[in-house]
């Protein structure tokens, strides 16, 4: 397997924003159909701006690092800007991911979108969130 970048290892060893938010404005839990891992993301929203984000992840080093990074990236962003964060942007902010681990960053994007979707639903606003396409979910042989 390819090695992780030092940035990935930094976020894995000392992840930011681990935990839960009591009475969060949006919670998203997504599972990875490829490897079976699970990510849960909590957001707090004030005035259309994400003021806090926390996560819990059952997954590999890349899954934990992308969780840490995506929560860093969304904090202080407006909902609309947060919706534009892609898995590629998360991976890039981490100095790249090994090819077989790109799907872990998809998990981060999906968790964020799912939390935003939940936010809209809780507010009773029709949700503009489109879940990302199944990119990176390559099924290889043994």
């Amino acid at each position: 397997m390819e090695q992780y970048s030092s940035k990935v290892m930094e976020h894995f060893a000392h992840p930011h924003n681990v935990g839960e938010i009591e009475n969060a404005d949006g919670v998203g839990t997504v599972g990875n159909p490829v490897c079976g891992d699970v990510m849960r993301l909590y957001i707090k929203v004030d005035n259309n701006t994400i003021t806090d984000a926390k996560f819990k992840t059952f997954g590999c080093g890349a899954a934990i690092a992308t969780s840490s990074m995506v929560t860093d990236l969304v904090k202080g962003k407006t909902i609309d800007d947060a919706l534009k964060i892609s898995n590629a942007a998360v991976a890039e902010a981490l100095g790249g991911l090994p090819k077989v681990k790109m799907h872990c960053s998809v998990l981060a994007e999906e968790a964020l979108k799912s939390a935003l979707d939940d936010y809209y639903k809780k507010k009773g606003i029709p949700s503009p969130v489109k879940m990302p396409a199944e990119t990176g979910h390559e099924h290889e042989g043994e």
Binding site: V18, R40, T57, F58, C60, A63, E142
Partner: protein, 394 residues
């Protein structure tokens, strides 16, 4: 920082005496065993001495040992070579589902070439029931292959009992003993096998030298052709230094055999008992007693294996994982899934294999470092959060 290597099932370091024995064969004694002159003969003699030592370790005759490059090659050679050379008897092969891919994939290839295959499922402990093998046998069955001990979960199979059945029916029987040779006594007569694979780097020999035992009189089709080496069964100039190293490793293992299981078993049990005491929600994979003396395979619920592996690595502890995330294919171990370990638990699996250099202090160091890692990862696991919440409710 202490360094604790607990991945001996992946590979072992070569024993210093093995390296010492090998060195002259790179330089002063560089000859090609196929040459008749003195330089060639010196190399030839060394290869034959290694053959005798390897044979002695498993109770075979020297001429029944064929050197190969790896356990994978030995398994490919055995499966394809035996099936192809004896297909006039029938075209049905029986294997267990927990075999290594170097057995399962050649079997798949044969299936595409017209062989029928029965893959017998193991029990929850990973044991293959000889009665199931017996039941699977048809008039067409030409070959049975069941591994001696499983490389992941350490379960030791009832090979001698299966050997009795195959012998009675006149069916060829191969066992992949790559995980067991050098660690527990292996005797081809007692096991009743016709072919057996072993690999040097699995027991303190060098990488690049392995062997296939083939009982005298059993026909096997060469898979590497175009050379007269190894009695025409396996072409290619011999890897003389590595073969010499394998012979030395076999000699050392034979002399040390009583010792190995006796000193490793208590350490293995100390590690397992210590983990059970310190970490809730974990279980052992494989058979509790019928297992390799150096194998601990445990699943920690609600945490993922690669994360554990990476944190352990930071503490100087080197292990393997059965997790989907650590494998290139992102599938969890086929062995764990066949024995019924569910996918999430398989993802939280660590394989720790001790070695002759592992000390009680090493085990205690792991017992000090691993539980907090599991605890930390659980504290950030959504699966654990759900469990804790549902436990509070009830």
């Amino acid at each position: 920082m202490r360094k604790v290597y607990l991945d001996h099932a992946a590979t072992t370091p070569a024993h210093p005496k093995v390296v010492e024995a090998m060195m002259p064969f790179f330089t002063a004694k560089f000859g090609n065993p196929s040459n008749l002159h003195d330089v060639g003969r010196e190399a030839k003699n060394a290869v034959e001495e290694a053959r005798s030592k390897t044979a002695a370790l498993i109770g075979s005759k020297p001429e029944e040992i064929f050197f190969t490059s790896s356990g994978t090659e030995s398994n490919n050679f055995a499966i394809k070579g035996l099936a192809q050379a004896n297909s006039q008897k029938g075209k049905h092969i029986i294997v267990s589902q927990v075999e290594h891919f170097s057995v399962l994939h050649p079997v798949k290839t044969l299936e595409k070439a017209g062989f029928a295959v029965t893959a017998v499922p193991p029990s929850r402990e990973g044991l293959v029931d000889p009665a199931h093998i017996s039941k699977a046998i048809t008039k067409e069955t030409v070959l049975v292959s069941v591994m001696h001990a499983n490389n992941e979960i350490g379960t030791i199979q009832p090979i001698a009992e299966i050997g009795k059945i195959t012998r009675e029916k006149g069916i060829l029987f191969h066992t992949d003993a790559v995980a067991s040779v050098g660690w527990i006594p292996v005797d081809v007569q007692a096991l009743g096998v016709d072919a057996l694979s072993l690999s040097g780097h699995q027991f303190y020999g060098p990488k690049g030298a392995a062997a296939l035992y083939v009982r005298k009189g059993v026909r096997i089709k060469p898979q590497i052709e175009g050379g007269v080496q190894e009695d025409g069964r396996r072409g290619g100039t011999e890897n003389v230094p590595a073969i010499v190293g394998l012979g030395k490793a076999a000699e050392i293992a034979a002399a040390d055999m009583g010792n190995r299981a006796a000193s490793l078993t208590p350490l293995r049990d100390r590690l397992l008992a210590g983990l059970k005491q310190r970490v809730p929600d974990m279980f052992l994979n494989g058979h509790p007693e019928r297992r390799l003396p150096h194998n601990v395979n445990v699943s920690f619920l609600y945490v993922e294996g690669e994360s554990m592996l990476l944190f352990l690595n930071m503490e100087g502890i080197y292990v393997s994982s059965g997790s989907a995330c650590t494998s290139r294919s992102l599938k969890s171990s086929h062995v764990l899934s066949c024995i019924g370990t569910d996918a999430a638990a398989a993802n939280g699996t660590l394989l720790m294999t001790l070695g002759t250099g592992t000390s009680a202090e090493d085990v205690d160091y792991v017992l000090e470092k691993l539980p907090p890692i599991v605890e930390r990862l659980r504290s950030m696991s959504p699966l654990y959060e759900d469990v804790v919440k549902s436990r509070k409710k009830t």
